[in-house]
Structures are given as structure tokens and as C-alpha cells.
């Protein structure tokens, strides 16, 4: 059974199992801009990136452009998509506006880029949870046939970051569930060019960390065995090692 964690030496919280299982179900479905098969191919590239020697050489180079080579890859996605997946997994701190714009010139539109990013970070995070516990990664799901919806939110703006996002006052209509309080933050808006990518991360974050509402509790969530300070020490240390300014 998917994400039963029956091979884990420790009991895994039920809500974490359910969140991971739910994402795996979404992963297999056609998305907004990628088919189910392509979405699973992106997930497979996440796993290739982790052991990609070319990525390791590039990361250790003063400039990634001084190193030539080929990524470890399955050959299902085109080179631009593969390179983008590997960059996000292994050297995300050196992604620039030019990198995203160049990818768009090569056919990876901003919509494709955002959905790909959402898949990459979700799969990577689930795999990291398993690795943290010493549990093997879950087998990837079988793709569900069908075409992408090509859904694009009605209100987007390009005044923040590398990709268009829904403005703080733009979560209306089909997107009204994204921040019902009317308040938002850039990290919440980041993937909103593909609203389901944000919904996926809300779902995963609610189980792995805290729900958006739960983040206002700075003391302790009753359903967690660690308090907020302990959570933020972990969060801060991971972010510092990843050189994350945000």
C-alpha cells in the first residue's frame, strides 16, 4: 500500500501518510501544463539529480557555466526541463531571472516552469522525509492518461520574483481559497501561476510542518511532539545550510 511506512522502524503520524499519499495521487494525474507521464518523469529526474555527477561538478565550480557535461537522466524530458529539475534540486541558490528567462526561450514557459518547480519540491521533500527516517523512497505511481488543463489564473502580475504570481488582492474567483484571510506572503504567492501547485504545498506543509493557520501558534501545536522553538531551530538550520536568505 502506498506510503504505509510499514518498513519504518518508527510509527509515522497518520496525517503525514495521508498527505504523502494524496500528493502521489495528484502527481499521477494530468496537471495544468504537463501530462501525468511527464509529471512522473519530472519526479524521476528529482531522484536522478541527487546522484548526478555533473550537478556535483557544477555546484563546486566557481561558475556553473565553466563546466560542461551531461546530467544523469532518463531521457523522457527535454534537456531544458532536465537541467531545470537538476538545478532546483542541487544548486537552487544560483537560479537567476536569466536562468528562468533562458529556459522560457528554450520552450519551458513560465507556466511549465512553475508546475515543474512545484512537483520537484514536493517529491524532493517527501523523499527527504523518508531519507531522514532511513526509509527507502516510495515507488513512483503509474501515470493517469489525459491532457493538461492549461488553466491559468485570471489575475497575475510580474512585479515579484522570476515568475508571474497572483497579487495579494488577486485571490478571487477560483483562487479565493488560497488565502481566505486576504493576507499573504511572497513564499505563499510564489507558485500561484499554477494554483494547484500551491494547494499541494499547503497540504504537505500542514502535515510535515504546520498549517497556514497553525503558523500563528508560536508555542506548541497539540498534535506535534516538538514545540515551535524546536521546529524553528530545525527550520533555521536547514535553511542556513541551504544558504536561504528568505
Amino acid at each position: 500500500m502506498t506510503f504505509s511506512y510499514s518498513d519504518a522502524p518508527y510509527p509515522v503520524r497518520e496525517d503525514i501518510k495521508q498527505a504523502h499519499k494524496k500528493f502521489w495521487g495528484n502527481l499521477a494525474q494530468p496537471g495544468s501544463w504537463w501530462t501525468g507521464a511527464q509529471r512522473i518523469a519530472i519526479a524521476a529526474e528529482v531522484r536522478n539529480a541527487v546522484d548526478c555527477e555533473y550537478c556535483q561538478e557544477r555546484k563546486s565550480a566557481l561558475s556553473p557555466f565553466t563546466v560542461s557535461g551531461k546530467h544523469r537522466q532518463d531521457g523522457i524530458l527535454d534537456e531544458t526541463a532536465v537541467n531545470t529539475v537538476h538545478q532546483i534540486v542541487t544548486d537552487q541558490g544560483r537560479i537567476t531571472q536569466a536562468f528562468v528567462d533562458d529556459a522560457a526561450q528554450q520552450g519551458l514557459t513560465k507556466e511549465h516552469y512553475v508546475e515543474l518547480t512545484g512537483i520537484v519540491v514536493a517529491v524532493f521533500s517527501i523523499d527527504e522525509f523518508n531519507r531522514a527516517l532511513g526509509v527507502a523512497p516510495e515507488a513512483l505511481p503509474q501515470a493517469v492518461a489525459g491532457d493538461p488543463s492549461h488553466y491559468r489564473p485570471e489575475h497575475v502580475s510580474s512585479d515579484t520574483g522570476f515568475v508571474p504570481m497572483i497579487p495579494v488582492d488577486g485571490a478571487v474567483g477560483n483562487e479565493r481559497d488560497l488565502w481566505p484571510t486576504g493576507r499573504s506572503a511572497n513564499v505563499v504567492r510564489a507558485l500561484t501561476l499554477v494554483p494547484n501547485a500551491l494547494r499541494d504545498w499547503f497540504s504537505l506543509a500542514s502535515a510535515q510542518y504546520l498549517s497556514l493557520a497553525g503558523m500563528s501558534n508560536l508555542i506548541r501545536d497539540d498534535n506535534r511532539s516538538i514545540n515551535r522553538m524546536q521546529m524553528e531551530l530545525i527550520a533555521g538550520r536547514v535553511s542556513a545550510i541551504n544558504q536561504c536568505f528568505y
Binding site: Y10, P11, R13, I16, I88, V89, Q92, G93, I95, T96, Q97, V114, T117, V120, V121, A122, F124, S125, E128, F129, A132, L133, G134, T160, G161, F162, M165, N186, R189, A190, L191, L204, A205, A207, Q208, Y209, L218, I219, S225, I226, N227, R228, M229, Q230, M231, E232, L233, I234, A235, G236, R237, V238, S239, A240, I241, N242, Q243, C244, F245, Y246
Partner: protein, 122 residues
């Protein structure tokens, strides 16, 4: 958020735990050094250190803490990649608290700081 949580709970902490200072992590945070080593070994992809840190945390804090810590660490492995892949700037860069913490932790030296600092100066 660490500082905010400590403030609300009136706990004295040393924020340098985030920079890997074991002594600082131990101050005011239960299992602080063990949680820090666990998070660090995961993010650095040091498998032997991760196995050691996992065992250490399990031994001292138990399986429920280990699982919840794994969830938080995995979550923030995702968040840093969302932030950097989309180039978002920090929301409250000019805030006094934000500026103080940036200085204390030398955050402006991080590669992804450019996404916020360039936005603020433009």
C-alpha cells in the same frame, strides 16, 4: 520565527544555534543540539552523520520527536527551493527585527540574498 517563539514563551535562547553553534542550540531548547545535528546532517547529505544523528535523537527524545523533526526538516528542504527557484524577496526586509537578525546571522552573505537586496535597492 525562532526568536518570535522564544519571545512569546519568554525563553532565553541564543539564535546562533541556527549557524551551527552547538552551545547556542543547547540554550533554552530541549534536545537543541540533537535536533540541530539531525537537521544539519540531512541538509548536508552526510549519510553516516545522518544515521548517527537519527540514532542519537531517537535515543534521547524518542520516535515521535524523531518523526516530527524529520517532517520539519523535509518541509524546509522544500521551502528553500521554492524561494530560490522563484526569486522571491523577503516580505519585510526594512523591518527592524529583520535587519537585526540578518546582521546577527550574517544572512546578507547568502547567495540568494541578492533576490531581496536587489529588489530593495531598485
Amino acid at each position: 520565527m525562532l526568536r518570535a517563539s522564544a519571545s512569546v514563551t519568554e525563553t532565553s535562547i541564543d539564535i546562533q544555534g541556527i549557524n551551527g553553534d552547538i552551545t547556542a542550540a543547547a540554550k533554552g531548547i530541549e534536545f537543541g543540539p540533537e535536533l540541530m545535528r539531525f537537521a544539519e546532517s540531512l541538509a548536508r547529505r552526510n549519510e553516516q552523520a545522518l544515521a548517527d544523528a537519527r540514532g542519537e535523537l531517537l535515543h534521547i527524545a524518542g520516535p515521535a520527536v524523531l518523526v516530527d523533526a524529520a517532517g520539519v526538516a523535509a518541509n524546509f528542504q522544500r521551502m528553500v527551493r521554492i524561494a530560490d527557484a522563484t526569486g522571491i524577496p523577503v516580505d519585510n526586509l526594512a523591518n527592524d527585527v529583520s535587519q537585526k537578525i540578518r546582521k546577527e546571522l550574517d544572512l546578507d552573505s547568502f547567495s540568494s540574498a541578492k533576490n531581496s537586496l536587489e529588489t530593495a535597492s531598485s
